[in-house]
Symmetry: D3
């Protein structure tokens, strides 16, 4: 390859298909997102990443919606265009409303501002925060 | 000043004290965090930042707890030591348990990993994400 | 200029042409990449950057291939689209195989994840690391 | 916990000890680094992270030394203090000499500079890079 | 909305129009930039952001030109494509020449390089810097 | 070395001393900052970095003060502790007042906030910005 190319289900090796099948089943979708089709170039990485994501994003003490909001917050902070697009979509699917999206952006913007104010003013850590 | 220094209540100008008083009242604390004492070097910035933070972090479609988790997610992604320390503390106050903290870290770590995989593989944005 | 524009060899001043010639000679290419054509808007910056890059990327204790892999690792971590595209191409030219690219991505992804886990858990530096 | 605390072997649950034992065996060390002791607060995250790291850092098309150099490159780009300290130590153990470290820093510095020049000049992607 | 959409003046609610009017008046422009049209999805965020930006970017001890240069420096460091495009334009409007742009890029590139050298070499803070 | 160590003038090789002498002369200081003492571990990198910094920071279309403010803006955005400390000191030496510092922080904070809002709302680039 010169530029990595997505691998479609029809062209995929059996161990890649097994992961694709599990993604489709878990997410109740007809096809997997491009992200997984590119990772399929490295079947080991594909399998490990999917299993870790499935594990990390599952219902737990935090709901899948909250976890998707956190994913968007990280992706926006990193400026990762693909990740913002795909996880905003996932967050909507998990129940994010327009108002929630607006509040999410407000918090993420504010946190990025105050992070720099804290660094620039070289704020000493309060004793209470150990 | 050569290095910015925190301004204590006793030494603060009236318009700084007014902000400190509002922070103490809103958060039901006896003293404000160091962050605010450093910003007090610039009373206009102090006032604007506090009002924006109060606005952004208020109960809304997202709970104060979820908003604090988002704040930690951004601060960890930026590697801002003071911000991680202070907002981990705020998140605990707002109800974050040890299990929630563990899940938060797992999502933030995973999001930072997959952000780079998406960029490195130069994943094309799925049509569905428009 | 309103938006910076690339400067082609035919339109370039002599001191820019001299740098372009050296790039073409060193890299055995017929034309320089866009990156250099944009930097040509500032001939001093062009010259200094090319000389520093040539110096830093030369065969040394680390091979040119390893250095290109490092360049990709930094560019992916920063999410710099142009840099990912151009240095993935350079790395391939220097001998990077598909398998190497897969392992590179795996390490870069993992490092970005564990960097955040270390920050978020506020891990104390081991005495052995001084 | 208010601040996350490291968990020592003596105080660890059986599934944490199993991971610690595997780290010690794989790395031929008497004790694990602080990083793992903090992750032990979340045994699932600990196990998954260790297995992923072991997998990603193993001998492959790229040597363990090259992989450690990549890890340092990412950590320096992110400014993660703990990660720079621990992976500089790992890289030395894997064979990094002083000269290699110097070249590594030179490439990482240069890549971070040219990443910004490419972004700031808004360089169009060369057709050849697809 | 699935993807956030810009809100045009004709379709805007009265409190959004009031902000748009103030932007047009302050900046002496016929229409506001896309940035403001997207923020209009959240009228509170729109108002607060505009007031903060107007406040922060006003003539003060630093001139509006210097402030725009600083904005570009931050945007380039973050790799924010929209922000680089819009604030390069604002900086030109405020008086940035081609030579100034070249020097700006040179400083931003150099600062990003030396930031990593300082982190990678783990430089101890000089006593004089407190 | 296990951890990089600063190299003092008394222990430095002639080509390192030559650079140190030029720094002391140019900056009218009795001793160089720690940054240069660490880079002295790699005399080639030391020389190239000093010459590039001297070149980039010289009086030009932008004043040395403006260039130092830009350096601080980048360093704060990257969260580089050493760089914030050393370049805040340089900026003061070049004439930065307390009020200028406050305005600098306000702009840097605001730019980091609006960068994320632009990314998160996926703002389309205005036609005028090309």
């Amino acid at each position: 390859m010169s530029r990595p190319k997505p691998i479609e289900y029809a062209d995929a090796a059996p161990q890649v298909r097994a992961v694709f099948d599990d993604i489709k089943l878990s997410r109740k979708v007809d096809d997997v997102n491009n992200f997984w089709k590119y990772l399929a170039n490295d079947p080991t990485l594909l399998k490990r990443t999917w299993e870790s994501v499935k594990d990390a994003m599952a219902e737990g003490a935090l709901s899948p919606l909250v976890k998707e909001l956190l994913y968007v917050a990280v992706s926006v902070t990193n400026g990762c265009e693909y990740c913002i697009a795909s996880h905003t979509a996932s967050a909507r699917k998990a129940g994010m409303t327009d108002t929630m999206f607006g509040e999410l952006m407000a918090v993420v913007g504010m946190a990025n501002e105050t992070n720099r104010l804290a660094s620039g003013y070289r704020v000493a850590i309060d004793q209470a925060f150990g």
